[in-house]
């Protein structure tokens, strides 16, 4: 019985590989992508746009979920190399941890480029499609100074400490605040999570921490903090800013609850990634970085987003 099952399985594997071989014969461009984590709303918007664009251009695209693990992404790139794809797109979870994947692709002669986030050995990648993390923090900071003048007490709610976007966004924010009297009086991580930002803000307010401005490194945390501030009846004296321009954050801006956010064009990044992949597959040259700009969003320009 067991032997019989084994035999059937071997047959199945053989059949599948024959079918797979047959598919790779034709001339369509085959692109493989590994994403840092598909349970993230932002990444979902990117991948949806990638799938849509691939469909339009007749590109055969397979998107893999890296589940927020660098070693998983490296293994996925190995698998994509083994499948002999034309171009590999990597949206790395880790600056250092995903670098070996680039080495492997280069060694195998498969062009690889990064999307949304970067790796340490970026020079070995064909290009980078995405935005510049510090820029979003800078735009957020400039928007805050435009609204509030050059002095204020700021509470900063950050992403997971050590995450590239956390480091970059803080760096950009500090750049914008440089030379002003904007002071970060308290800072902590809420790991991009709404419930953690909510509890954190409750605890700060309870502790009598005083600040005028809350800077959250994403909208999810901004919305959590906003909820705590409104529950404490302090919405008149504390202004909240986020990044991402999620749909509920935009609704909150419309209602005058959230002061501003920064739009990162997720769909634009996904679409551009496929366009760039096609250009690479066709042997065209591509610039070292393909920037998709950030834009500040507040009540005055909300209608454009």
């Amino acid at each position: 019985m067991k032997k019989c099952t084994m035999f059937v399985m071997v047959l199945l594997v053989a059949a599948v590989s024959v079918v797979a071989q047959g598919q790779s014969e034709d001339a369509t461009i085959r692109v493989g992508a590994t994403m840092q984590g598909m349970n993230d709303t932002y990444i979902r918007i990117v991948t949806n746009a990638m799938e849509e664009r691939a469909e339009e251009l007749g590109v055969k695209l397979s998107i893999l979920d890296g589940e927020a693990k660098a070693e998983k992404q490296v293994a996925q790139v190995e698998n994509l190399i083994a499948q002999d794809v034309d171009v590999i797109i990597m949206n790395p979870i880790s600056l250092d941890g995903c670098a070996p994947a680039v080495e492997k692709a280069v060694k195998a002669g498969v062009p690889i480029f990064t999307l949304v986030s970067v790796v340490k050995n970026q020079d070995k990648c064909v290009t980078y499609v995405g935005s510049d993390a510090p820029e979003s923090g800078k735009i957020q900071g400039e928007m805050i100074i435009a609204d509030n003048g050059t002095s204020g007490r700021v509470a900063l709610i950050q992403g997971p400490i050590g995450h590239d976007a956390q480091i970059g966004r803080k760096q950009g924010l500090m750049e914008a605040f440089a030379g002003t009297n904007m002071k970060i009086v308290v800072e902590q991580t809420a790991n991009w999570q709404r419930d953690q930002a909510l509890s954190l803000m409750e605890n700060w307010l309870q502790a009598g921490q005083e600040f005028d401005i809350v800077v959250a490194q994403n909208d999810n945390m901004a919305m959590g903090a906003l909820k705590a501030i409104e529950s404490a009846g302090l919405s008149d004296s504390i202004k909240v800013y986020g990044i991402d321009a999620t749909s509920d954050a935009k609704a909150a801006i419309e209602a005058g609850r959230l002061m501003g956010t920064v739009f990162q064009d997720a769909a634009g990044q996904g679409k551009m990634a496929i366009d760039v992949a096609v250009r690479i597959a066709n042997g065209e040259s591509v610039e070292d970085v393909v920037f998709i700009p950030y834009l500040p969003v507040n009540k005055s320009n909300l209608a454009d987003f």
């Binding site: 709303t41 979902r44 950050q158 400490i161 308290v186 902590q188 419930d195 309870q206 502790a207 509920d248």
Partner: protein, 314 residues
Amino acid sequence: MNIVRLCERTSKFGIYIAFILLCVVLSILSPYFFTVKNIVNILNQVSIIGIIAVGSTIVLISGGLDLSPGAIVAVAGVMAAHFGHPGQYPIIVPITVAVATGLAFGAVNGVLTSLGKIPPFIVTLGTMTIGRGLALLACDGMQVIDLSERYISLANSEIFGIPILIILFALVFAVFQFVLTKMRFGRHIYAVGGNETASHVSGLNVNSIKIAVYMLAGALAGFGGLLLSSRTVVGSPIAGQGYELDAIAAAVIGGTSTTGGVGKLTGTIIGALMIQVISNGLDMINVPSYWQQIVKGSIIILAVFIDMRSRNKG
């Protein structure tokens, strides 16, 4: 070292003493810690994880283990939120959906562990992973927003000035405390966890008791998911990340045995409060993020150490 020796003398109250010590230290470090407002704040923050931890405790007492509550929180929250948009369904619909989702997960956990005889770690690791996937599938990876006022009030209103979450937690605790200590079913849970074979020989229907326990834990996690989605005003597929471990930690810090047959809900409450107080306190005295995790882990180990020393000597 006097503190440890003092604790050793007060047998079986070790964890309570560790908890009180922690509160005293935090009160000294932050003038805002030991205030009525902050105590209410802490109780409010602990309620959802506390409700889930009640379920984890009874599963542990019955000799099982449940890794799925965090995922159930996400699935139930997303599912309930789908039925929680303004002007569509009466509030009882999302509540039922959330609890039923949890019950269904619990039934699968219970049946596979008892009748299927698959180790609970494997079964619930599986249902946890499935649940995380289902949560994403149920909303296509996007948060479910636009919830009705009534839905939001589920976790955000007050009754006689007391936040409703605290009242719900107290009710859940009271009901399950009664079941565990006063009802035959409660004693059967301890019996099954203490010695399964003996329980079977003495005529207990071990399988149905186990299934019931997992279903109750699932229902509590589902209810917790509903409350979390109401508290955060969004049905999020990534909600409840790590809640299963916090819930198990609360139970185990509170003296529940990981091998079954031993445990008290009062201990679980102290365990849950301990975890919450640590993070509340560290936020208040503004300990840097890197240090928070180190301090948190150390305090948990120290508390259980004091507890175990006091038990052994006492």
